[in-house]
């Protein structure tokens, strides 16, 4: 008995069918009602024609609704227009579809047919022919004899991606100055402004338990040179400000009479952390549910984030408005390889 795994699969595979059982061939054809009863066939024909008719009605409905049901700037009106156009189009398309399928199923010849298959493998002659043709071609080109040509061709082709990829990759990342991740607009003395109303915040006005969405002073279209900068800066600088009872705070550095400010960008993958639970002082990221404890330096208490939200150190200026005393002490948002370098 051969145990060579390469040609022994005939032993491993039993296309089972025990002796004494043979393939009875295709089951007999079951005729449809319409095959013997001309009335039934006629009825099918009428149904198919009726379905095509529905399609025509659908098309007309679309044309009429286009002119009659106009969108007027309200959600209701665009939904109405959408409904009429959509139902008409669905009818126009579905009518053709159901008509064709019903035609095929009820009226077209439904006797199964059999076709032979042929193995995918080419015949030995074809294979030999292919090899001969390739050999002849290689011989004609002389590539086997002239090795300098072979080397030249390979080197030239191998280098070719470079002049195409270099300008692309060189430009696609703009200036490649990734150190921009490390700094935000916040610096000593920057006032905390409400987002989106853009007003300074008086410390005395922040009641215990309240939450304020904050952006730095100067983050508006008038003060920034162009639009790109606005979005890029805002994406890094957004802050969430919360006032707790001072006794609930575990650490008071960077806080002002129970007011604490943390980066709003999650340290997991960067969603804005926006759900604050007053009772537990927990901040929840709605994207992946990382949970941070505001009373304990925004440390992670649950979820896929590892690090605490960076804290924005704050104080008040002469007029009693909240200001930052420095930028964040570490890069905000998701981790990256050289983050702590």
């Amino acid at each position: 008995m051969s145990t060579n795994t390469h040609d022994s699969h005939d032993e491993l595979v039993v296309r089972h069918a025990p002796e004494g059982v043979s393939d009875p061939g295709l089951p007999p054809h079951t005729p449809r009602l319409g095959d013997s009863d001309p009335k039934a066939a006629k009825r099918s024909e009428r149904i198919v024609a009726g379905l095509f008719g529905l399609s025509v009605i659908g098309s007309i409905l679309v044309v009429v609704s286009f002119f009659v049901v106009k969108p007027e700037g309200t959600v209701e009106s665009i939904q109405r227009s959408n409904m009429f156009l959509g139902l008409g189009l669905a009818l126009a398309l579905g009518g053709i579809g159901f008509a064709a399928v019903h035609w095929a199923k009820s009226l077209m010849n439904d006797h199964e047919k059999v076709e032979e298959r042929h193995p995918q493998r080419s015949s030995e002659e074809d294979r030999a022919g292919a090899v001969a043709v390739l050999k002849e071609g290689a011989e004609d080109s002389g590539i086997a004899r002239r090795s300098a040509l072979k080397g030249g061709l390979i080197t030239a082709l191998a280098l070719l991606p470079l002049p195409i990829a270099l300008p692309l990759i060189g430009n696609v990342g703009a200036d490649w100055k990734v150190s921009k991740f490390r700094h935000t607009m916040w610096k000593r003395g920057t006032r905390l402004m409400t987002d989106p109303t853009y007003r300074p915040i008086r410390a005395a006005d922040v009641t215990i338990g309240s939450v304020v969405h904050v952006i730095p002073e100067g983050l508006n279209h008038e003060d920034l040179d162009h639009d790109q900068k606005f979005m890029d800066e805002k994406a890094k600088a957004v802050v969430l400000l919360v006032r707790l009872d001072e006794r609930d705070l575990k650490h008071t550095e960077g806080s002002y009479h129970g007011i604490v400010a943390f980066s709003k960008i999650c340290t997991h993958v960067g969603c804005p952390v926006a759900l604050y639970e007053q009772q537990t002082h927990h901040l929840l990221c709605p994207c992946h549910q990382s949970t941070f404890d505001v009373s304990d330096g925004a440390k992670v208490v649950f979820g896929p984030a590892k690090r605490a939200l960076p804290q924005l150190p704050i104080s008040v200026d002469d007029e009693g408005y909240l200001v930052a005393t420095d930028d964040f002490s570490e890069p905000i948002g998701p981790s990256f390889w050289e983050r702590v370098k």
Binding site: H9, H16, V75, M108, F336
Partner: protein
């Protein structure tokens, strides 16, 4: 041939003109009556194809009005709540498409629903191919083509989802940025590579637009062409049954039956998608507002085909981020966002080759397997799906918590455990079910169907009369590939020399044992003979027609557990 009607004359003229220039006659002769087998599960791939055509059509409509630009403008359209609000041109043009372009909202909703259906059809089509073993030789390459199409489908969905630049899709991009930054060593640079500088910059929408309307659909179109070409070349597989063999194909001709059926089905798919778009609102971006880095909405979900990645990110505990030698390795992001999908896709893409390695089978297969006759494959498929759906559910853990008033933390912990236990449990259960079904096939072959007719014999015994299978059903239940684990040559040859390739062979034997160790032996000729004789005997003697069979049927050749 004499032509009669003017129409026939015109057709003949056109055909003659074309044939003299393209020899199209040969093509028509060979292909018009090509046979395709019929089964509802073969329509799943067609749904994917027709959804894609819907995507192309509605997509062309959308490009006429959409402006892929991140330049900030003040909205001045008819939608009152957004009056004067600052937004990108991309978002403003999406609002215009919804509120001012008549039929624009319909096309937006058609496009989005078609995309969801496209992915669902691809996944279920792939399940059909997997569970019936249609990926076996000679179709391994076409399995890979389909596999790449799945990935391209995900890419098309992802790039398109982000284009309207609303607050939901913007946060999706932000998550992408976070994932990209987590890549070791080059993460920050990759983030710049994607966004053309810092997030969000002004390049990402135009870049995604080009990928979404040119690169990705172009590749999909080309690969669909290759996919279908290979289907025609191989001729379609058919389900097992009498008269169907690896050497033939049984079904209906392309013209006219499939022209009508598939053509008609295309219109049905178009119609159903349009009906969905007409009656079910999707992605009402006017409620979300333009992207702004600060706000986010609770309970936000990505499109369904991205949920498994979202769930994977949500489940991973944060403790797995490490700082090693001053460098940050965010395994809490890398494992769920790259390793998990990487593993899933590697198993999927490589399965045909793994199975071929385990069987050593080099034959062509054109008759599909009944899933029960490949218990380990079927069980593995169910296990993969289980893991996938647990991740999908985990991607909605917040909604599960709020809808069922459960603790979010408890749900997350449950899924963390289930992700490991679930697939193992469903693998085991599915395998047992398959083996059970094979036993039932044996029973039916040997004893026939219960007829529900109870007969009282002369001496008072009651028996149920069993009806033998008709030859068609008998053939279906006995004629399948019954595999056994492969045997390999010993480590040393007759002269005691260690043979090359022995290690590879032992690995192969181990995999083969995993696949085929637990099995139900098929009915042998002797058993069938005995059962028939017994039935006849019983009939004559007036004894029970029910025959108890010897031997537990299930064989274990080596006692390893798994």
């Amino acid at each position: 041939m004499s032509t009669t009607t003017p129409l026939e004359k015109a057709a003949a003229g056109t055909a003659d003109y074309l044939d003299q220039r393209t020899s199209i006659g040969v093509l028509v002769k060979n292909f018009a009556r090509k046979i395709f087998p019929d089964h509802w599960s073969f329509l799943l791939g067609e749904i994917a194809l027709f959804s894609f055509i819907t995507l192309l059509g509605s997509g062309i409509f959308l490009t006429m009005f959409f402006v892929p630009s991140m330049t900030e403008v003040h909205y001045e359209g008819p939608w009152a709540p957004m009056q004067g609000v600052e937004m990108s041109e991309a978002f403003a043009s999406t609002l215009k498409l919804s509120f001012e372009v008549r039929g624009g909202l319909l096309m937006r909703q058609v496009h989005h629903w078609a995309a969801l259906l496209f992915m669902a059809a691809i996944v279920t089509h792939m399940m059909r191919v997997f569970f019936t073993g249609a990926f076996r030789k000679p179709r391994e390459i076409n399995w890979l083509v389909g596999f790449v199409l799945l990935i391209l489908g995900l890419a098309a969905g992802f790039t398109g989802y982000s284009l309207p630049d609303d607050v939901l899709s913007g946060n999706g991009l932000r998550i992408t940025d976070g994932v990209v930054k987590a890549i070791p060593i080059i993460g920050s640079y990759m983030s710049y590579f994607v966004f053309g500088g810092e997030f969000p910059g002004t390049d990402i929408i135009p870049r995604l637009f080009t990928l979404h309307i040119l690169v990705v659909p172009g590749l999909i179109l080309a690969l669909i062409g290759l996919h279908l070409f290979l289907v025609v070349l191989h001729k379609h597989t058919h389900y097992p049954g009498s008269g169907r063999t690896d050497g033939n194909v049984v079904g209906f001709p392309l013209f006219p039956v499939y022209t009508a059926k598939a053509g008609g089905f295309a219109f049905i798919v178009f119609g159903v998608i349009t009906l969905m778009a007409a009656t079910m609102q999707i992605n009402p971006v006017w409620n979300y507002g333009p992207y702004d880095p600060s706000p986010v909405s609770a309970g936000a979900q990505p499109d369904w085909y991205m949920l498994f990645l979202e769930g994977s990110l949500r489940l991973m505990p944060g403790q797995t981020e490490w700082v090693i030698g001053g460098y940050t390795l965010s395994l809490n992001v890398l494992i769920p966002a790259m390793v998990v999908p990487g593993l899933l896709f590697t198993i999927l893409g490589g399965w045909p080759f793994l199975e071929a390695f385990a069987t050593g089978d080099k034959r062509e297969h054109h008759v599909l397997d009944r899933p029960r006759n490949a218990p380990v494959r079927t069980a593995a498929g169910v296990a993969i799906l289980t893991a996938f759906f647990i991740l999908v559910l985990a991607g909605s853990n917040d909604l599960l918590a709020t809808h069922f008033h459960l603790s979010l933390n408890d749900i997350t912990w449950t899924f963390r455990v289930l992700l490991f236990l679930g697939p193992v449990a469903t693998f085991w259960i599915t395998k047992r079910i398959c083996l059970g079904l094979q036993r039932r096939d044996r029973d039916l072959v040997l004893h026939g169907h219960e007829s529900a007719t109870i007969v009282r014999l002369e001496h008072g015994e009651y028996i149920e009369v069993h009806k033998p299978l008709d030859p068609y059903e008998l053939w279906l239940r006995v004629n399948y590939d019954a595999r056994r684990p492969i045997e390999i040559e010993p480590a040393e040859d007759a002269r005691g020399v260690r043979r090359k390739g022995y290690r590879r062979d032992t690995i192969r034997r181990r995999i083969s044992q995993f696949f085929y160790e637990d099995r139900i032996e098929p009915v042998s000729a002797e058993e069938l003979e005995a059962a028939r004789a017994h039935a006849e005997h019983a009939h004559l003697e007036g004894h029970g027609a029910h025959v108890e069979l010897p031997a537990g049927e299930e064989q274990k050749s080596v006692s390893t557990d798994h």
